[in-house]
């Protein structure tokens, strides 16, 4: 997302693709979170991996991106908020966080990268042997079937994936964005995640 006022002050255009982010004119103007402490940023890493294909190419991209990064925040939604206040012009983050800021009146524009972008799947989980299983199951039923519940979710600007689900007018539509093919199981596997994070930390994060 880009803050159009601040970008105009600095004389830069909102980026439209992952490749755009590497341009020298954005040096020091991009903020994203640290993948070690933020799932948002880790998803960014895996998205880049899916866009470019190999881990080496991903690290190469992240190294080039690192030159334009102002700082890595600890929380995933912090960069977006910095852009909303105009502290920094460009941030990488989840769309639903950004739509919320836009709806609150910040002068921002949200762009999905043209090469394709990733996504997170928010889900509910029922824990086996929990203290109140029956009520938990009732909650499940209510969330999945009640129109009121569905509408509440849209107010958070997330995109509901159930067929026929409601959509908030300001939220991005998954039909309009190009997404990459994500293998959630592979991304979430502890071995893979540790390897990716270690590589990023050793080659980029700790070298700042």
């Amino acid at each position: 997302m880009t803050n159009i006022d601040r970008a105009a002050e600095l004389g830069i255009e909102p980026p439209k693709s992952w490749a755009d982010l590497l341009k020298p004119e954005y040096k020091g103007y991009i903020r994203m979170a640290n993948p070690n402490s933020s799932g948002t940023a880790y998803n960014t890493l895996t998205t880049i991996l899916d866009v470019f294909g190999t881990e080496d190419k991903m690290i190469e991209y992240m190294k080039k991106l690192d030159k334009n990064i102002d700082q890595y925040t600890k929380s995933g939604s912090a960069p977006g908020k910095s852009v909303a206040t105009g502290e920094i012009p460009v941030a990488i983050g989840y769309a639903h966080d950004q739509v919320k800021l836009k709806a609150a009146g910040s002068p921002i524009v949200i762009t999905a990268p043209s090469e394709g972008t990733g996504y997170e799947l928010a889900s509910m989980s029922l824990i086996k042997g929990g203290p109140d299983t029956v009520n938990a199951k009732k909650l499940y039923d209510w969330i999945l079937s009640s129109p009121k519940a569905q509408k509440t979710f849209t107010e958070w600007y997330v995109v509901l994936v159930a067929e026929g689900a409601a959509k908030h007018p300001d939220a991005l539509s998954i039909d309009e964005i190009k997404t990459v093919n994500q293998d959630m199981v592979w991304d979430g596997d502890k071995v893979n995640k540790t390897r990716l994070l270690d590589r990023w930390t050793n080659e980029i994060g700790n070298k700042r």
Partner: protein, 745 residues
């Protein structure tokens, strides 16, 4: 004390108890094992009955894995009965079980089991076997675990003939878990009983003995044990001894963070000492008028909540700050070494100020008078007399601020930007990567300079007493500065204090602003939202701090009384152990608590109890020091006469000691409350879904740039803390004791 008769008494009683203890343990343990075996048997027989009607190979392959649903973690192998050769052949099922079967097939135990199964009797093998669970593709943990082995017959359609057998492996982890718990409990019971017996038999004053034992117990369980666990676990990786964690922690990437911490520490300490010296000199050596006011204002930053200064610096000088952006249109960033040093100096110079001030006060002015009489200039007097005499104070102050800066966690969390310090690295490793071992290893690395500075300050510098003892107390104050110099110092000090005051005012201002940096219109909405979202945190924090305060105060006084007035073996060790948390960075304490108290019998992680215990342990050193100082000023004769009149130790404590040390007691209690409310570096690891802490909430809001909410909560916290502190100032009028120890978060 150790007479033959008593030793005999002790040994007899101990022996009887130990025998009874062991008998109870073995009965319970074997009974439980038998119960568990029987239950497993029942379930396995049930399992054998669920064999599919169609006895095709495919059905068997599908049926065998269902053993997991009946007994968690179990693995099964189906063996078909070969009529010709009268033995069983492994057919389908778990690879783990198959490997085990093929390895031990011909052993007498297995043979006996197979014979038993032929006769339609299920059997459990006597010994346990190591099974490699990594051979099965669906295992969660690929380990080699000791397992119990069961054989059950599978009957054919007639119900009378055996058609096959199922060999079932049950990993013994759950069973041994319970019997470990039993063992720990019974050993603990034995230790407690023996301790009590020891005290009763051998000491003349059993009550004191119990109190000492109790204190030792508390200290060992809550201070020594977590630290030892933290060290032990930093040498483990995935359950086995490994130096991997330490190798990673000592790699260049983290040494950069260590260097960052040290550099910040040196900068902060040096500047703080300088500033503190100026303030101290102004108060102690000049005819400055508003001394009380300046002293009060200068000690404010010590009790203020951890994020407040960083927050207001960001509000004023951040990338979208009021001064940096709106007024001056600067483009530089306050994040990093510069901003951190500024905030730390403001927050820690009072420590330097207090220390140097105390030292300067003790230097008798008559020495300086004499020098001036001998026609030395003021500058010469200062250079040759005052300065050298105050060197220990200056060194002390430098070391104290250095220690504090290294352990500082709250300010770097918000302001460090790209500048890396060890305290926040450990936090990120624990919360972001769930790598507790590495987090604790890094904290130990941080401990080295902290501990060194602490020990040097305590044992070397503090002992060098340059106090001048002339026998004649002097009430004169030599004016060591001429007017211009004094005016310069005054101006500097007032500007500095004015800056600090404006920082606090910014926080208050931030409460009423809609969106700092974008929309400066007035609003009260922040208050509503912050109170709605933060009310439970406020309530919980105040509750927990209020619970911890009296307990910590009483324990500290008790310990002080025992250490000052009584003699018992291990006194120095007890004192040292109680003082340990003073030297340890909060992050290390927090991490070691998570590591140590996350399993039975002391499962405290996630409860309010662990937070309260943490508060108490952190405050004991300060309380103990205060108590020892206060007690040294009381003549033991008063207590002795009470004892002569028949009072026992608790009565003496209650009626004589407590009233006399009331000022010190109250002041240390209020410091405990204040510091518990503003704790963050250890607490951030100990909070849970149920117990959130106000400071952590402030941090969350700040990080998410909800500055209005963060400001509101900070203001509330400052108000609470200030009112308690002001209350204490009114109630206790003894200056010496209230200005005693200022220390870390």
């Amino acid at each position: 004390m150790f007479t033959k008769k008593r030793i005999l008494q002790f040994c007899t009683a101990a022996l009887i108890f130990l025998l009874a203890d062991f008998w109870m343990y073995s009965t319970l343990s074997s009974d439980f094992r038998a119960y568990e075996a029987e239950r497993n048997f029942n379930e396995i027989e049930l399992f054998a009955k669920t064999v599919p009607d169609e006895r095709t190979a495919q059905d068997f392959a599908q049926w065998v894995p269902t053993v997991k649903d009946i007994i968690p973690g179990a693995r099964a192998l189906y063996l078909a009965f070969d009529e010709q050769n009268f033995n069983f052949i492994a057919e389908s099922g778990s690879e783990t079980a198959r490997a085990l079967f093929q390895a031990y097939n011909s052993t007498p135990d297995f043979q006996k089991a197979m014979e038993s199964v032929y006769y339609l009797e299920p059997m459990k093998l006597g010994s346990t076997y190591q099974a490699d669970y990594s051979l099965d593709p669906d295992t969660i943990s690929a380990d080699t675990i000791r397992s119990q082995v069961y054989f059950v017959p599978v009957v054919d359609e007639t119900g009378y003939q055996v058609s096959g057998a199922a060999m079932i492996l049950v990993p013994t982890s759950t069973a041994t878990g319970y019997s470990n718990l039993l063992k720990t409990l019974f050993i603990a019971a034995a230790v407690v009983f023996l301790g009590i017996l020891l005290v009763l038999t051998f000491t003349r004053d059993p009550l004191t003995g119990f109190m000492v034992l109790g204190l030792f117990g508390i200290v060992i369980v809550f201070i020594a044990y977590p630290l030892i666990e933290a060290i032990r676990l930093s040498f483990m990786k995935d359950g086995v001894f490994s130096l991997q964690t330490w190798k990673e922690s000592l790699s260049p990437t983290y040494l950069v963070a260590l260097w960052g911490s040290l550099r910040l520490g040196v900068l902060t300490a040096t500047i703080s000492t300088l500033v503190g010296f100026i303030f101290a000199f102004l108060i102690e050596r000049t005819r400055f008028k508003q001394k009380k006011l300046m002293t009060t204002m200068a000690t404010m930053p010590v009790i203020s909540p951890p994020f407040s200064l960083s927050l207001s610096i960001i509000l004023l000088f951040g990338n979208n700050g009021l001064i940096s952006k709106q007024l001056l249109h600067l483009d530089t960033s306050i994040y990093g070494l510069g901003g951190l040093t500024l905030v730390q100096v403001i927050g820690m110079f009072p420590i330097a100020f207090m220390t140097i001030s105390g030292v300067l006060r003790q230097i008798d002015s008559t020495v300086e008078d004499a020098s001036l009489d001998l026609s030395a200039t003021r500058w010469q007097t200062f250079k040759e007399i005052t300065l050298p005499l105050s060197v220990p104070g200056i060194l002390s102050a430098w070391l104290l601020v250095f220690t504090n800066s290294l352990a500082d966690f709250a300010n770097p969390l918000l302001l460090s930007g790209d500048y890396r310090v060890l305290s926040t690295e450990a936090y990120m490793l624990v919360t972001g990567r769930s790598n507790l071992g590495a987090g604790s290893a890094l904290s130990f690395i941080l401990l080295m300079p902290t501990l060194t500075a602490f020990l040097v300050q305590r044992n070397w510098v503090a002992k060098k007493s340059y106090v001048t003892v002339t026998g004649k107390p002097s009430t004169t104050l030599t004016e060591l500065t001429n007017k211009p110099v004094r005016i310069t110092m005054e101006t500097f000090s007032w500007i500095f204090l004015g800056f600090i005051a404006s920082l606090y005012l910014t926080i208050v201002a931030g409460c009423f602003v809609v969106n700092w940096g974008i929309d400066y219109s007035f609003t009260l909405a922040n208050w509503g939202e912050a109170l709605a979202r933060g009310w439970t945190s406020i309530r919980d924090t105040v509750t927990l701090a209020a619970i911890a305060t009296p307990i910590a105060g009483l324990l500290a006084m008790l310990a002080a009384m025992l250490i000052v007035r009584k003699n018992f073996p291990g006194k120095r060790i007890l004192e040292m152990l109680i003082m340990t948390p003073y030297a340890i960075p909060g992050t290390l304490i927090g991490i070691s608590y998570i590591l140590a108290f996350n399993r039975q019998p002391l499962l405290l992680v996630g409860t309010g109890a662990i937070i309260v215990i943490n508060y108490i342990i952190r405050e004991l050193p300060v309380g103990l020091e205060n108590g020892i100082t206060a007690l040294h000023q009381i003549d033991p004769a008063i207590e002795e006469s009470a004892a002569d009149l028949g009072a026992d130790v608790p009565t003496v404590f209650r009626t004589i000691v407590l009233p006399l040390i009331r000022p010190a007691f109250l002041s240390s209690m209020s410091y405990t409350f204040v510091r518990s409310m503003t704790a963050v570096s250890a607490i951030i690891f100990l909070i849970s879904a149920r117990w959130n802490h106000l400071t952590v909430l402030i941090f969350n809001f700040s990080e998410n740039l909800r500055f209005g909410l963060a400001s509101v909560l900070s203001t509330i916290l400052i108000v609470i803390v200030l009112s308690v502190w002001a209350l204490m100032q009114i109630v206790v009028r003894d200056d010496k004791l209230t200005q005693k120890t200022i220390s870390t978060r």
